[in-house]
Structures are given as C-alpha cells and as structure tokens.
C-alpha cells in the first residue's frame, strides 16, 4: 500500500452491545463476508482470543481489525472495526475506542431487548457524536420479538429516528445490509493530511521484543518509520520503528495517514509511558493541542491477594508485574499480614476487573490465591485538616482523629420487567440507595435510576439482583464522585487479637448486623483449640458482638493394636500435614479452607 489511503473511503466503527447480545458473532460474520480472513482461519469469535474472554464471552482488551469491503455501488471501502470491552469496569477504554470511530453498530438481542448497558453505551457513543446504527440480532430465535425491541430502541434518547436493521449473526441473515448501512450512514473521517500529526492512543499491549505496541487512530497528519514523535501528556520523545495495520494479525505498512487505524512501535519500554487516551504528535512540528479526553484511570476497588502457599509469593510478584505490562489500570503494593504472610494490596477498575485478574493469576500463572473482601477507596478528612485516602480498612486512623469520611457514590441504571420492581427497590433501599427516577421503556419494562455508595454493590449485589429478577434485570453504573457518609470501622478480634484482614468499614447502621454475622461465622469456621477462644467485633474498642469457640476436651484414638498401627500413624501424619498448612492468628490455628471461607463472608 504505497498510496496514501483516501479518507473518503474509510469507515471507522465499533460494535456496542450488552453482554451476550452477539457482538462477537456479528463481528465474525462481518469478517467472513468481507473475506478478511480465509475460511481456515475462521473460528468462533475470532476477535476474542484470550481464554478467559472466550469463556466468559466478553471482550477485555480492545481489538481493531481492518476489512476491505466492495460495496454494491462498486466502490472499495476500508472498514476499521474496533472491538471494545463490553463491561462498565472498562468504560474508559470503551470511551477511548469510541473516540477513534465515527460510528457504531448497536447490537440488541431480539429476545432480551434493551438492557441497562445498551443504554449507557448509546449515551457514551452519542457523547462522542457517533452515528449509531441499531441492529436487532438473533431474529431467528423462537422467542424473538423484533417489533417490541424496535419500540424499546426508539424510546432511547437520540435513536428515535434511526433506521433499525434486522439480523441473525448465527445464520448470516441481514449481514450484507449491515455492511451497506455502514457505508451509507457512517461518515468518513474528516481530518487533514497536511496538519501536524495527531494520533489518539486507544489501547496498547506489551511485547517483550518491541516494548509497548500502541493502537492508534490518526486524526490528522501522517506517520511512518523514522518519524520523530512525542507523547503529549508527558512530552517524551521517540523515533518510530514500525507502523502497521490489523489484518487482524499485525501487518507492517509504510505509513499510516489521516483517518486510518493501526499500530505503532517506538521502543516504549513500559506500558505506563503510553497511556490510553494520550495523543501522539510530531516532535519537530507538534500539534497545538492534545485530542480531548485524556484522563488518568483510577482504581476504585481494592483487595489483597495472598498466595495460599507462602512459597508462591515470588511467583505472584512476577505474575502481577507481567499482567500490569498489558493493563496499566492494575495497581499493587506489597503487604504483610500476620495471618496470611506476604501478599499484595491491589487496585482495580471494578469488580469484574478484579475477578478477571484473580482468574488470570490462578489460571495462567497457576497461583492459588486467597483474596480478601474487596473495599473501596475512602477519603478521610482529619481534624488537623489533612485529607488521606484509605484503600484498606485496617489503615483507617483512630476515630478521635477523624473529622468525617467520604465514600464513592455511583449512579446506577437498572432495567427490569416491572413485576420485579418491588423486590429490587427493597434491595436498593437496604443498600442505602436513593431513588432518583423511574420510567417505562415499554408497558412492562421499567428503567430505574438510583444513587448509592459503591461499597454497597461490592458484596453479593449482582447475584441478589439476578435472583430477585430471575435473571431478567440488568444494571450499569458509573462513579459520580465522593459524598460524606456516617462510616465506622469494625475490627474483628480472635483471642483478643485484631485480625487485620477482617476489619471492615461500614455504615454505622449496618455495623451490628454485619459484625454479628461475622463472629457467628467465625465460630463455626474456627476449629476448637486447646483453650477457649473468644471472638469479638469492636468499634472504637467497644465490643459490639461476641461469640466463643469452646476448648477442645477430647481428641484421642480409642484403641490401637497391632493391625492398626500403620493406619493410625498415617491418619496422624495426614492431620499433621494439614496442621502445617494452617494459618495462625496469634496462638489460634485455623485451617486454610476455613480461613478462606471467613474472608468470603459477606
């Protein structure tokens, strides 16, 4: 490709959809129809190649691919399809990917209809002024109701006038029409070749040989190997080694010019140097400003990871280093717990992000983990006017030093069949939710808007919503900011010693209930010791709940004669091996499994 690609023939678009509505399958059909990949390369969900992504059916990293499409008007078009992560945890990445496009296909399941995430994705796409093409997918399902879904779509702000396409990615119905709509309704990019280089980084991956490989959308100008470039947020300068496009494997090209989507390497040693959302420009002739939208992503959810076997600590460290090379949103700092040994306090974008990292550590690196109860980032205003941020309940200062505490709040959108409204509103009330708005998308589908603390959805929230609504309700949220709350820290003491990993911060009205539950659970989880073990929960050293594990009185094998000796010895050896793996809290020994179950208590 020696000629500069004509921007007028380029269409850059994303596919947005709720989980499971068929985003990846639509992408697969488009790939087939544009003959981007040969038949033998076709496998289900070509774009989702991480094991975990295939299994969970979600996209975690953004993935671009360049397609050639010969339209019915006889012209050849270049499509850049940018597959986006589908979950709210990764909404910043979604937003950057959308910023690299002029349009989006919005895929809605013909049976399930509009879901909470569909709406928030549409809002995000509209913020980026994208042209949106709604596609109702899975129309071949017996439970499909495209008419009803069309009505729901038309109720979404900004989509009342959109043409709605019908498709079945499974059997290929309507895919040709989708491609034609892309040509017709999505505008070509409008940058200028002559202007100084401005390229938006919408993702990056780490490669041990080339360093960080950045995925870019050229907004203005042109870039080629040898170009002197600069990352605008930190003013670092580099020389470009290689530029290329996605076929969907990376393919070197001579240059990337205005409107194009591709990748670039320039010896970036570290992924943190190439932040998603940053702008790359020419160092000798820099653009006058950065492209809009660069912001630092802040971890909002924290938990500690400890290796089950202490010997795995170095492996855990190595694995976190490796994972963070491709995911700059993970933060981790070493931590030491008397009960659990050495581990890391880690920060994540959200719960799913946390879950994914935990699974990848366990699966790809074979490290068995103990994960502590997740916590949010609290903002603590001290009486001496200092403000500190706390991501670990155990590091909260004494109550006497604290003026007040703020916690992150979210705006939650929830879409549910109206029959479940009662139960759902009751749950939200219990989770300190404040009702903001309700509207009907259809006569029996309601959309709720609530404000509530992020902390309240940390434990057992998705599951409860799903169980109350028999799986029909969907939710989506975004962080609104910090608000003051009446929060207190509850410590848990086992045999008079505070167990750091069990301390938690909670609303004062909920402290007793949660404390009661935790001491009762501990009572059943901790095996009887040679001495009586008091279990207490305290607030400011005042005990608010207690229970007692009574002392072990008898542990003896009744009889032991000739034939039994080996067997009895082996039985004892097995017990001994279990004892060696026990976790200790002071003098109290707790089997690993019990400790893990304690940490999972909600």
């Amino acid at each position: 490709m020696t000629e500069i690609t004509k921007a007028a023939n380029i269409r850059n678009f994303s596919i947005i959809a709720h989980i499971d509505h068929g985003k990846s399958t639509i992408a697969d059909r488009i790939l087939e129809l544009t003959e981007t990949i040969s038949q033998r390369e076709i496998r289900e969900q070509v774009l989702d190649d991480m094991d975990l992504e295939r299994e969970k059916g979600i996209t975690i990293k953004s993935k671009p691919v360049r397609l050639l499409y010969k339209a019915l008007n006889g012209k050849q078009y270049i499509f850049n399809l940018i597959d986006t992560p589908g979950h709210v945890d990764f909404s910043y990445e979604v937003s950057r990917s959308l910023a690299a496009c002029e349009g989006a296909l919005m895929v809605v399941d013909a049976a399930q209809g509009v879901q909470a995430q569909t709406i928030s994705n549409v809002q995000m796409a509209l913020e980026h002024k994208l042209s949106i093409i709604p596609v109702i997918n899975k129309i071949d399902l017996s439970t499909a109701d495209p008419e009803k879904v069309s009505k729901e779509i038309k109720k979404i702000n900004g989509l009342s006038e959109s043409p709605i396409l019908m498709a079945s990615a499974r059997d290929g119905t309507g895919i040709r029409e989708v491609l034609e709509a892309i040509v017709k309704y999505i505008p070509p990019p409008d940058g200028k070749l002559e202007k100084p280089l401005q390229a938006l980084i919408f993702d990056s991956v780490y490669n041990p040989y080339q360093g960080s490989v950045v995925y870019i959308r050229i907004v203005n100008g042109v870039v080629k190997p040898g170009s002197k470039i600069q990352t605008m947020s930190n003013k670092n300068n580099y020389e470009v080694n290689e530029v290329g496009i996605f076929m969907p494997k990376r393919k070197k090209v001579e240059q990337l010019s205005v409107g194009e989507v591709g990748y670039l390497t320039a010896g970036f040693k570290d992924i943190t140097l190439t932040k998603v959302g940053d702008t790359i420009t020419n160092s000798e002739q820099p653009a006058d400003r950065q492209l809009p939208g660069y912001k630092k992503v802040i971890p909002m959810v924290f938990c500690s990871f400890y290796p089950v076997e202490n010997d795995d600590y170095p492996d855990l460290k190595y694995a976190l280093e490796k994972l963070s090379l491709n995911d700059s949103a993970i933060s981790y700092i070493p931590e030491n717990s008397p009960a659990l040994g050495f581990g890391f306090r880690c920060g994540f974008l959200g719960l799913l992000h946390m879950e994914i990292i935990q699974e990848r550590l366990e699966r790809e690196y074979q490290i068995q983990l103990i994960a502590t109860t997740p916590s949010v980032l609290y903002r603590v205003y001290l009486k001496n006017k200092q403000i500190i941020e706390i991501d670990n309940p155990s590091s909260l200062p004494e109550a006497a030093l604290i003026d007040y505490i703020e916690e992150p709040f979210i705006e939650l959108t929830l879409i549910t069949p109206s029959q479940f409204l009662g139960g759902i509103m009751e749950l939200l009330q219990d989770r300190r939710g404040v009702f903001k708005n309700m509207e009907y998308l259809d006569k029996d589908i309601a959309r709720l808007l609530y404000h509530l603390p992020l902390n309240e959805i940390m434990l057992d929230f998705y599951d409860r919503i799903k169980s109350i609504s028999k799986g029909y309700a969907s939710i989506d949220y975004h962080i609104m900011g910090y608000q003051e709350s009446a929060l207190i820290k509850v410590d848990v003491l086992v045999n008079q010693e505070v167990v750091d990993n069990l301390s938690f911060i909670t609303h004062k009205d909920k402290a007793y209930e949660r404390a009661r539950k935790i001491v009762d659970n501990l009572k059943t989880a901790i095996p009887r010791q040679l001495f009586e073990v008091p279990i207490q929960a305290s607030v400011n050293r005042k005990i608010i709940a207690r229970s007692t594990v009574r002392a072990l009185k008898k542990n003896v094998i009744a009889k032991c004669y000739g034939g039994d000796i080996s067997r009895k010895r082996k039985l004892l050896e097995k017990q001994k091996a279990g004892k060696k793996r026990m976790k200790r809290i002071g003098k109290v020994e707790i089997p690993q499994e019990a400790f893990m179950s304690i940490l999972k208590i909600d």
């Binding site: 040679l530 009185k553 094998i557 034939g563 004892l572 001994k576």
Partner: protein, 382 residues
C-alpha cells in the same frame, strides 16, 4: 539353641454371624461352613510356612482375634490352637487369649478352649443395656454376657478381659455407670474401655452423616471417660494404657507387645506382622488368601519398611499410650541421642499446655493429655 527371638502370634478369624453397625474391621458375616473349613486348613498351612522359616523363635503370647473367633466351633478352635503348639515353640508361661462374643460361647466351648491351652478369654460385652446392644447390631444380651463370664470361670479361666464401650448413641451417664459398676462387681482381671470411634464407611457412619443418629458430644464422652478412670482406680484397676485397665499383674502380655514395638507374627486374612522394622499385611480376601496358601505361597499383600523417623514416631506414640510413658534411657539406647535433641521444642510446649509431664526417667501423658492424646502425638511426627 542359638539366640531365641521372643515373638507374639496373632491369628485372625475374619468371620462373624452378623456385622455390628460401627465395625470397620475386616470380617465377613457368613454361615458358609465349607469356607470356614478351607480357611482353617489355610491358616494352618501358613503356620507351617512360617514355622519352617522361623526356627529360632519362641512364642510368648498367642491371640485369636477377629471378627469373631467363636464363630468357629470349639473343635475348630482346638484344631487351630493345637496346630500352633505343633508348629511353634511356645514359652510355658505364654498368654493364650481367645476373643469371644458372649452370644457364641457356652460352657462346653469354654472347656474345649481351656483344654486346648487357652488361658485368657476376652469377652466383647460392650454394654449391659440390651436395647443399646440391639441398636448397635450386637447379637448378644446382658444375660448372655453374664452366662458366658460364669461359664469361662467354671471352665477354669483365671484371666478374663471384658470389653466395654462408651460414647454410644443415646448412652446416658447413669446407664454407662451401671454397666461399668456391674462389670467391676464381676471382678474380671482386665477391662478394656474404649470410646466408639465413628468410621465414615460403616452403616453407623452413614446414619450419622445422614443425621439419623446423633452421637454424644466429645465433651460428654470425655466426662464419661474421666469418671470411669476414677471409678476403676478406686477398685484397684490399674490404668496402664489409654484404654486398658488391669488388676495388678494382669496386664495383657500380647497387647503390650504392640505398644512396646516388639515383634509379632500375624496370620490369617488381613493380619499384620511386624518383624525387624518391616511391617507386612496379608490379603484380606479370604478366597485369595486360601488360594495362595494352597499354592504354598505366603499371602502377603504389602509391606512397609519403617524409616528411622517413622520408627521414632511410632516408638514415642505407642510408649506414650502407656501410662508409664516413654523411658528416656530406652529412647537414647535405641536412637543414640536423647529425645530432646529431636523434639525439645514440642516437649516444652506440650508441658506448658499441661498435656505432657516429665519425671527423672520418663515422659508421660497428664490426665488432660490422655483425653487429648492425638494433639500430643501430632507433635512427634515428622
């Protein structure tokens, strides 16, 4: 004669009329008389094979255990005991015990056993509560037990053991005490007192797991145990091993072999032997056992050679089961180094926890240590 090795002989009779619901010993409930006959010839063949190999041994004890040895007839038991006398040199003071289920023995059988050389009878009385016996699947009653005991005395047995169980489902403190008191009144020379241990793969195990039967709490069972120790002590029964009590001079010679890590030969299906650091076990399946012996092959299924640390652990654990405890000098003699060299720290901790005590010459379990013996034993494993 050269150096003679004193050993014990254990003979396993894997037959029962009916299996008790708590039992996980190897035994089969059968009335197949042919099988019993073939089994007896096989065990005698096994004696011959060993007798030829072990010219320089002398038996200090013989123990016929089961299953239920008295599931065999008096004459069959005589045949087995006589074979022992033919195949092995036996110390004239040897203790020769036969285990008997009170429901399977009468005066005639007792006499036959006594004539054949048995001098000790071990009666599986378990309880004097007939309802309890029935629930456990025992085939005898209190009346059977008393009759068996008196028959044994009449036949000439001067050394009788009675087995009693506690911690049984639904057992009351009063009920247990009654049984124990009545047993003591009979003045057996020896009493074995053991807690029901729940084995998962037994009918009782399944019943408990399914919540259909509830066992008394460990705390309650421990109370029964401690009270029994006191009661027996008052009546001159010496508590010499965790679950064994004897009138002075009447400790079981055979069982002490096990706790002293002395050699013993085990014959019969599933029986275990221990000779010069090697422990081996016969096949449990009686048919296979019989067939191998018919070919003149020793029916050994597996053997285990103890490492020195295993030997050490077993020595300490078994010796601590004895109330006298572990003699420091004996340990040093066997392993060349004082025990504190290997286990100094756990010994110190156990003493602090009040589980282990020390005299000039011995380490021994405290009263609390007896109830929590497993916690002590764990510390002496590698």
């Amino acid at each position: 004669m050269n150096h003679v090795l004193n050993i014990g002989l254990y003979l396993h009779i894997p037959f029962c009329f009916k299996k008790c619901i708590y039992c996980d010993f190897f035994s089969i409930a059968t009335s197949d008389e042919q099988l019993k006959k073939r089994y007896i010839s096989a065990i005698i063949k096994e004696m011959e094979l060993h007798g030829k190999k072990n010219q320089e041994v002398e038996l200090t004890s013989i123990y016929l255990g089961g299953g239920t040895p008295t599931a065999l007839s008096g004459l069959q038991l005589q045949e087995i005991l006589r074979a022992c006398f033919l195949k092995f040199p036996i110390d004239e003071m040897a203790e020769i015990t036969v285990e008997a289920n009170p429901g399977t023995i009468d005066l005639g059988k007792c006499k036959l056993l006594f004539q054949a050389g048995a001098n000790r009878l071990s009666l599986g009385v378990q309880s004097f509560d007939d309802e309890m016996l029935r629930k456990l699947g025992r085939i005898h009653t209190k009346e059977d037990s008393l009759a068996a005991y008196h028959s044994a005395r009449e036949a000439g047995f001067k050394n009788i053991n009675i087995d009693i169980m506690f911690g049984l489902p639904g057992q009351s403190k009063i009920g247990f005490k009654e049984t124990l008191t009545e047993v003591i009144q009979l003045k057996p020379e020896h009493i074995s007192l053991y807690a029901l241990s729940l084995e998962p793969e037994t009918p009782l195990g399944h019943l408990v797991a399914a919540g259909k039967i509830k066992l008394p709490s460990d705390d309650f069972t421990n109370k029964l145990f401690l009270e029994a120790i006191t009661l027996l002590g008052e009546r001159n029964y010496e508590h010499y091993e965790i679950s064994n009590f004897a009138l002075p001079g009447k400790r079981s010679i055979h069982n002490q072999l096990y706790w002293n890590c002395q050699p013993y030969l085990g014959l019969g299906a599933g029986a275990t032997s221990f000779m010069s650091n090697k422990r081996y076990r016969n096949y449990q399946d009686p048919e296979l056992y019989i067939e191998l012996l018919n070919f003149g092959i020793l029916p050994i299924e597996c053997q285990e050679i103890l490492s020195s640390s295993e030997k050490m652990s077993e020595k300490i654990i078994l010796k601590l089961r004895m109330m006298e405890g572990l003699a420091k000098a004996e340990f040093r003699g066997l392993f060349g180094t004082p025990i504190e060299h290997f286990f100094g720290k756990p010994i110190q901790e156990l003493k602090e926890q009040g589980l282990l005590a020390e005299s000039k010459t011995h380490y021994y379990l405290t009263k609390r240590g007896i109830s929590l013996a497993n916690n002590v034993f764990l510390e002496f494993l590698d």
